[in-house]
Amino acid sequence: MEFGTFLWTTLGAMLTLAIFSFLYKDNPFYKFAEHLVVGVSAGYWAVILWHNGLVPNLFERLQDGDWYLLWLNSSRPWYLIPALLGVLMWTRFSKKYAWISRWPIAMYIGIATGVAIPLEMANRVNKQLYATMSNIHWSNFFGSGFLDTAAGYSEVIVFIGTIAGLIYFFFSKAHTGTFGVIAKVGIYILMIGFGASFGLTVMARISLFIQRIQFMHEDWALVAFDKTNPNYSGWFPAFFWLVALIVIGYIIKEFIIYLKNKDKPKPEKA
């Protein structure tokens, strides 16, 4: 690894530590990293949307043909309309003319909701209902082996669970009698589902945490002391110890503050 790359990795390690420091409490390092990521992220998306959004979808279309109007050289001049509508969004900056920005918003909302109705019905509702009802394999009801997901009984549970879950969410009728029993089955299925989803989410976050620790250890700490690196110099461990000193210094500062305030009475909670 070259020294320049190591410096960038050191910055990444410092920012990783700064974010993890929030586990202790909100502090200047965390706030710095937090504000930095807001700026970098906004700048990144501004550039990406410019280069991959506006340039190919608007500017190139307004410069690709043989129709001339002022500076335009376009075979598709009607793309000026969305550009004009987009500019109208900026009337939000004026208190007097802000109402004009409702026109492009209305078109956006109209198109988006109009597209959503058939697509939602087709993709979320119909396809899910079809998959629930059409795939029960009665010939393989008991399946093979322990808890077979392809067995018929599993498919029956999916079918009953889906219907019961839907009934649980139907609040226009009181959950009593047979309806209440089915709703009860629904909430049991939902709870098992929520538990499984929760477990999966926790494991995904733990995987990310492990990845950050591996980054700190393998990509940064080990590289800082890797003398087999052909570009190795004394600056590598120097920057490692610099970061370590900052961390240790902050811990000592917090400990001193703790010792000073230890005997002071704590303010009562309101």
Binding site: F20, L36, S41, L49, N57, V87, G110, V158, G193
Partner: protein
């Protein structure tokens, strides 16, 4: 006028897009594609509003030296630096310059370094931080107080512990099978019920918007 025209526009475009879905005619598909380009372009212009808002809020904080105003300097500096690197770079002849219409900025090493060594570490670490908060929330919420809470707790534990290497081959095998079954059977049933509910809810809300019953998108005034 200020409110009627937007309601009319939503109705016309909404109804057109619903019927367009069922028409395979070439003209219908052309208009569909054109209108989808419209909303993409309008959306990007709306993004500019968001960035302007960020600049305005940060500048205001710095100007009036409000609490923690120094961090707003960091935000603005990061924003403008990233945008600067995103539109500058070296072309194929090795000439440095501003490139608004071509993508030299996206291959600018500084733009990539900012992405790889600032944005990615911070965002990944923020998500990994949730592991601690989610565990702390689970500790408080996961009490086996009744049957429902116990079911939630047991299924979450099985899914979380399924790859535990200390369980050994036999017990580990059954844990893994149980977790896979929980995820693919009861979890799928629950997800399907929720997805169907979301789909129906989206259709209902979309209809309310198109028919002018829901007007929240217009704001006040």
């Amino acid at each position: 006028m200020k409110r009627q025209i937007p309601i009319f526009l939503v109705f016309v475009f909404g109804v057109f897009m619903v019927f367009q879905y069922f028409s395979p005619h070439e003209a219908s598909e052309w208009i569909y594609k054109f209108l989808m380009d419209w909303i993409y372009i309008i959306g990007i212009f709306a993004m500019a509003l968001g960035i302007w808002s960020l600049i305005h809020v940060s500048y205001d904080k710095i100007k009036h030296k409000r609490h923690d105003w120094g961090y707003s300097v960091v935000t603005l500096a990061a924003l403008f630096t990233m945008m600067f690197f995103g539109i500058t770079g070296f072309n194929e002849n090795g000439e440095w310059g501003f490139y608004f219409m071509t993508q030299e900025g996206l291959t600018n090493p500084m733009f990539r370094n900012f992405f790889n060594h600032i944005l990615v570490p911070i965002e990944t670490t923020m998500f990994s931080l949730l592991a601690f908060f989610i565990a702390s929330a689970a500790y408080r919420a996961f009490r086996a107080r009744n049957v429902l809470a116990t079911m939630l707790l047991v299924s979450a534990l099985i899914v979380m512990l399924r790859f535990n290497p200390y369980f050994g081959d036999t017990f580990g095998f059954y844990m893994n099978k149980t977790a896979a079954w929980l995820l693919n059977v009861p979890n799928m049933a629950a997800k399907r019920a929720i997805l169907i509910g979301i789909g129906l809810g989206m259709v209902g809300t979309a209809l309310k918007v198109i028919l002018g019953i829901e007007r929240g998108y217009m704001g006040k005034g």
